[in-house]
């Protein structure tokens, strides 16, 4: 058991007690039925989606992209970094280690901000594995349309802050 897992199950217990106190066993049953409904929908597509995601880790060429996002690459570099971030494969356990590779290879700080924000917002892997199966493609279209400029904004804000406070210390 790790910390986050304990936290989410604690949340389940707290919510279950709240539901039980308000509606009794019937409420708990109804909640379980609704959870089971989504679980059934996911039973086939989630394993397939995870499989696709782990194939992608092999296919995407990560290190060749570093040259394009140096500290002097400006807005073009920020946009590129946001896209690269969106293509980073895997969850945080694979993408953050890859982000460090970019950082040590000489990516600029605003570009790194755009990259991490791009990964957070676009995360192709997360979209395929969880968002599409649960929310559907139309929701993804809306979310992509709404968040297209977010990583670029983050990079530009960061460039502004770095210009004022000076260089940021990196590990």
């Amino acid at each position: 058991m790790n910390g986050p897992l304990i936290l989410v199950w604690l949340a389940v217990i707290v919510l279950a007690v709240m539901v039980w106190r308000r509606e009794g066993v019937v409420g708990l049953k109804e909640g379980g039925v609704s959870a089971l409904g989504i679980a059934k929908t996911l039973s086939l597509r989630l394993p397939l989606a995870l499989l696709t995601a782990s194939f992608l880790i092999h296919i995407i060429p990560v290190e060749q992209m570093t040259r394009l996002i140096g500290p002097t690459s400006g807005l073009a570099g920020i946009i590129t970094a946001a896209l690269v971030g969106g293509l980073l494969p895997g969850g945080p356990m694979t993408s953050f280690p890859i982000a460090i590779v970019f950082m040590h290879a000489g990516a600029g700080v605003p570009q790194m901000v755009a990259l991490v924000a791009g990964w957070s917002v676009f995360a192709m892997h997360r979209m395929l594995a969880y968002e599409a199966p649960i929310m559907g493609w139309k929701f993804i279209a809306l979310r992509m349309g709404s968040s297209l400029i977010l990583p670029v904004l983050a990079g530009l804000f960061a460039e502004g802050i770095v210009a004022v406070v000076g260089e940021i210390a990196l590990p």
Partner: protein, 179 residues
């Protein structure tokens, strides 16, 4: 078990990416990917189960009228701020957060609130920040990244409400989502 069109899309995606992996890196890489996916599934399952239960329980606790009032189409700026705060505080990975978005959707939250919630969760979520970003990318970088991302979920929610005027971006009623 019923096989929906979405399932066929996922099977095709797995087959195509698997084929490319085999052609370029051989059978070993394919097997390694299968193993990784299997491990990932086992890791994810307990959190996914929790996420689905949270979603199911939340629908019992929060009435349709309340969600519609707090996070519905006429909740204005307050709704977007509330949704962003909820997203920031939501623990766990995508297997927890997306079932919650789905539950809020069923309960009557509007597109802007849903987008603000999921954007806040993905950009500002404390969980990942503490577990991954802080130790790997350092305090100064993480603080900078957090601060510049702070206003973004509300911006995304506002854009989503604008986009909702076009039918291509308008969400269907979740109750009518046949699976």
């Amino acid at each position: 078990m019923k096989i929906a069109r979405t399932d066929i899309v996922f099977a095709a995606l797995a087959a195509i990416t698997g084929g490319i992996t085999y052609a370029r890196f051989g059978g070993g890489a394919v097997w390694e990917s299968v193993e990784r996916a299997g491990t990932l599934l086992l890791v994810v399952l307990p959190q996914l189960a929790a996420g689905l239960l949270i979603g199911g329980l939340v629908t019992r606790l929060v009435s349709r009228e309340k969600v519609a009032r707090w996070l519905g189409g006429s909740s204005g700026m307050t709704g977007l701020l509330l949704a962003s705060l909820a997203g920031l505080l939501t623990p766990g990975g995508p297997f927890t957060s997306f079932p919650m978005v789905y539950a809020l959707w069923i309960a009557g939250a509007d597109a802007g609130a849903l987008i603000a919630f999921i954007s806040a969760w993905s950009l500002l979520g404390f969980n990942r920040l503490i577990v991954w970003e802080l130790p790997l990318l350092g305090v100064e970088f993480t603080m900078l990244r957090f601060v510049v991302c702070l206003p973004l979920p509300v911006i995304a929610g506002l854009i989503a409400r604008r986009l909702g005027r076009w039918s291509a971006f308008r969400l269907d009623d979740p109750a009518g989502r046949a699976e």
